[in-house]
Each structure stands twice: as C-alpha cells, then as structure tokens.
C-alpha cells in the first residue's frame, strides 16, 4: 500500500522521533524473525582472489572487504581498462553498473535528469523506516531547497568566523599528544578532531561529543546498506539515543536563544533563525535527515583523510621531506591527500530513462555506481596515480567531492581542517612514523582506517 505523502508527514509530525525509531526497531525484529535471518551476518570475510583469477563478468566491487584486503586498486584498474562501464548482475545488493573512469563519472554525476540520486546513494538500502530523507538522495528542485537551508553553516563566510576556534582546538589536541611512544592516531587525533569540529558546528555539548561519533559510525555501518558490520539491534538502540539527543539539542538551543543568549554560528541557530526552517522540529524526519547527513558527512570523510595523509606520507617518505622543505605546498597537498584517500568510495544513482553510457545500454531503473575511488586513480587524468605527489599539478581535479548539484557542500571546511592540521603538525614534529600495520573498516562505501599506530619525534627546541 502506498501511503500518501501528506498523511505520512502528518503522522510523522505527531509521533516523537525516538518513538518512531523504536517502532522501526520492532518492525525489523519481526522481519528478521519471519525471514529466519536473525543473528545471521550478511557478510563473512574470506580471502578475495587476485583480480587476474576472476572472470570479468564475475567482478563484484560491492564486496565490503576489497578495501581492507588491499585489492581494490587492481580490481578498479582492470575494470577501467577492460570494462569501464561494467555490469554485475548477481551481487548481494542486486544488479548494478560500475562506472570507473574519471570522465564517465563526471558525465553521470552532472546529469541528474537521467541519473537520479533517489532514493539512496549507497549500493544497498538501509533497514525499513531507517530510510530517512536526506537531500543528498534527492533530485532538484526538492534537493536545492533543503540544501540551501543548511549549507550556510559550512559556507566560506561562516568558516572564517570559525577558523580561530578550529585552530585553537587542533593545537590543544596536538600539544597533548604522547611523544616517542606508540599510540593510535585514529582515535587520538582523527576522531578527536572531527568530533570537536562536529560539536562546534552543531553547538553540541562539548563533553558529550563522542556521541556524535558513535551515532555517525552506526549510521554508516549498516550491512544492508553498504556491507558494514553493524548489528541491527545495536543500530536501532543507538538511533533512539540519537533521536533524543538531537531533539534535546534543538529545544535547549531554542530556550537559550529565548533567554537572550547571543546567537552563534552553529547549524541549529541557523535553522531556528530562518523562516522556512524555524519549525523544522515539527518535521522530525526532515530534521533528523538534515542533521544526520551533516554528522555523517563531516565525520568519516575528514577523519579518514586525516589518517590517510599520515599513512601516505609514510609510504612516500620523499614527499614528507618535500613538505618539510616547502610548507607552502600544504593546500595542494590537502587536495592530493583527499584524492589519494578518497574517503567515500562511490555515490550511487538510478537511471530514470533508458540511456547509453560509453557504449553500454543502461535500462531505466538500473542502479549505476560512480566509483570515485577509481576515477581518482584514472591514469589518463593523473600521472602515476597510485603515488602521493604533494605538488601534483592537477590534484584539485580529484573527484572525491563529486561534481554537479550534489558536490560536497562541506568541501571548504574539509580543506580548512586538513590545512590547519598540517600547518600545526609541521612546526611540532620532526617525524610521524607509522609503527604497525593499519587496520581497515569493513564497508564498500567508507574507505576507513580504523587503527593506525604511530610514533612522534618532536622537533628539537631551539
């Protein structure tokens, strides 16, 4: 049965968000019980064969262990060369097309008339009722209205107001790092800095900032969505916490503003002072969608670029020497790190009409996955694409932010955070050595580093 949009909106508005999530959890439990899938993991890790041992038609880029097992680059390279628009009919997420060349990806990303971002931008789909509407998965004109309401928080003008605060918080973290002994860079630096940033953007209680990270990690690790390791019971319990936390944040902010507190530069203030969004809390699903998108969008991406940069400069130590000799290369290096890491592997579209892409006939309704991680290693655009080259002439042509109307709206904030991090690291540390094998996230979407042991050598005083 199709429920009319207006009725759905009204019902959603009348029921508090946390209750709705609890209802969804019950539904999901019922579904798992009925289908006999309760407690079964969709994905169990097995060694993936080298790409040359696999028939072209059997290549399945949706395997959530390709990145962890370090085979992704060879799989992408083969598809770019032999089948740049490739069809996989039998993946655990159903059939989908893979687009792996830089130029083809731009062509798809630009063309929202033919390639729709609805209803989801991941290969699979989230559990039912967790499919919250986010504008990253909407087409114009609906997308434009929603995006306009929130993008001001990461607009360059707002960022200038925040730069001092970001730098102060980065310094505080770096000044307290252990030296000459191993520690985990991911949890101590990358996660800590992005959590602080998110708390700043949302004016979320600073001492509870770890919650934002937990919620974001849960939201991006759903197995049905992208092959992540999440347990649905844990997921739904986390989401109930998130619904309560975000609603409380809204009401608390409204009360503080009403009591005469100076309005800040944060997202909630921005939403509450705009005519079209001042009652957003009465549209709980839209409210949740906007906030989750911001939290997720600003979490994994910057975190993994912060970790990826350290890893890359260890793999290419001559580049670290070049950087120390030429700190003015930092802005270009930031683009190059984002290209090299490509923290989100892809975005998914659905063809709205029959169409032809680079010689392949794509039918209306087919899923089309744009593999940014492959476009960023396209040897026809980037020379020696697997190397980090911090003064690469065309580093800015990387595709990690996407192109077209869905281009990452936080791109300037991401660049700013990474630039400040490296500007503050260089004068403090002589060496940043990776001292253990990195650990990687299970996902076909997030190219995440979950653990990176490092040892810092401080610069000698004087």
């Amino acid at each position: 049965m199709k429920i009319p949009e207006a009725v759905k909106t009204k019902v959603e508005a009348a029921i508090p968000l946390d209750r709705q999530v609890q209802g969804a959890h019950l539904y999901d439990k019922g579904r798992r019980w009925l289908t006999g899938t309760n407690g079964k993991k969709m994905f169990v890790e097995r060694p993936i064969p080298p790409v040359e041992d696999v028939a072209l038609a059997d290549i399945d880029l949706s395997n959530p262990f390709l990145y962890r097992q370090g085979l992704w680059a060879s799989y992408f390279e083969r598809l770019r060369n032999e089948a740049p628009v490739h069809y996989q009919p039998n993946s655990p997420f159903g059939p989908f097309w893979s687009v792996t060349r830089h130029a083809d990806i731009i062509a798809v990303d630009k063309n929202h008339e033919v390639f729709s971002a609805e209803p989801f931008i991941i290969i699979g789909e989230p559990p039912r009722f967790m499919d919250i509407a986010m504008f990253i998965a909407m087409d114009p004109p609906k997308h434009d209205v929603r995006r306009r309401a929130v993008q001001g928080v990461v607009a360059p003008k707002n960022l200038r107001e925040m730069e001092g605060l970001i730098r102060e918080r980065v310094r505080d973290v770096l000044d307290n790092l252990p030296v000459n002994e191993p520690f985990d860079w991911v949890s101590t630096v990358s996660i800590e800095l992005t959590a602080r940033m998110l708390a700043t953007l949302l004016d979320f209680p600073f001492e509870e900032r770890h919650k934002l990270v937990e919620w974001s990690d849960l939201a991006t690790s759903m197995e049905q969505a992208n092959g992540g390791p999440s347990d649905n019971d844990e997921l739904f319990r986390g989401m109930v916490g998130m619904a309560r936390g975000l609603s409380a944040l809204w009401h608390d902010k409204a009360a503080r503003l009403a009591a005469g507190e100076e309005p800040g530069f944060d997202l909630i203030t921005m939403l509450q002072s705009d005519e079209s969004t001042k009652d957003l809390i009465k549209r709980p699903m839209e409210f949740a969608g906007n906030l989750i998108l911001l939290i997720v969008g600003g979490n994994d991406t910057t975190r993994n670029s912060m970790s990826g940069g350290v890893l890359a400069l260890n793999q290419f130590p001559d580049q670290f020497e070049k950087l120390k000799a030429n700190p003015e290369l930092i802005p270009n290096m930031v683009s190059e790190i984002i290209r090299w890491q490509t923290p989100l592997a892809y975005m998914r579209r659905v063809a709205k009409t029959d169409t032809v892409l680079n010689g392949q006939f794509i039918r209306k309704g087919d899923k089309v996955v744009m593999w940014y991680a492959s476009g960023n290693r396209d040897e026809t655009v980037f020379e020696r694409p697997d190397e980090l080259i911090i003064d690469r002439r065309n580093a800015r042509n990387h595709i990690a932010f996407g192109f077209g109307v869905h281009r990452c709206m936080g791109n300037r904030l991401a660049e700013l955070q990474l630039r400040i991090l490296w500007e503050e690291l260089l004068p403090r540390f002589e060496r940043i050595d990776v001292v253990g094998e990195p650990e990687y996230v299970q996902s076909n979407f997030v190219r995440g580093i979950s653990k990176l042991m490092v040892e810092l050598t401080p610069k000698r005083a004087g």
Partner: protein, 106 residues
C-alpha cells in the same frame, strides 16, 4: 592585445590577455590569476571559477545558461551577472572587460 581584468573582492586587479576561443577560466588559470579554481576542468560542474561580470558588459559577454544555473543558484555570493568563467568563451573584441571575483569561492 585585448586584455581582461580580474578584480579581487578586496579590489586587487590582475590583467590577462584575452585569447579568442579560450574560456575565461582558461585565461585565468593560464595566467595564474588568484581566486579562480577549475576543479572539474571546465564542465560547469563545480563552482569555484565564479566571476561577476561588470553589468555594463553583461549583454556582450552573455548571461548564464541553465547548466551554469544549477551550480550558481545555490551560491550565496551569486549576483545577477554571475557566470561560471569556464562557460564564457573569450573574444578578442572584449578589450577592457572587467570581471569581479566573489568574496569567496565555493
């Protein structure tokens, strides 16, 4: 030689020779004009090559098309004569053209 002036938000002027048939974005990047980035390489698919054409020149240079509008319409610094410079084909008959850069590129 025909010359275009790129004026920064703070009023700094940078001149560059107008090359017939090149885009204004190419003119800017070939001459290392600060404040013009061409992330998508000229596909009207990013936005940081945004310029605001001197209104006196707007009819000659032309207005933004629907493809540019998709990127421009969401830009908070957008002005009536805003263009994505990658979509503006330069003409040697435009000697003396001035375009302003927005406060920030996004």
């Amino acid at each position: 030689m025909a010359v275009v002036t790129f004026m920064s938000y703070d009023g700094d002027e940078h001149e560059a020779p107008l090359e017939e048939g090149s885009s204004l974005m190419q003119v800017a990047t070939n001459n290392a004009i600060p404040g013009i980035d061409a992330d998508c390489g000229g596909e009207a698919a990013c936005g940081p090559c945004h310029v605001i054409v001197d209104p006196a020149w707007a009819d000659k240079v032309g207005r933004s098309g629907p493809e540019e509008e998709e990127m421009l319409s969401m830009n908070p610094d957008r002005q009536p004569t805003s263009r994505l410079s990658c979509q503006v084909k330069a003409s040697e008959s435009w000697d003396g053209l001035t375009v302003q850069l927005p406060e920030s590129q996004w």
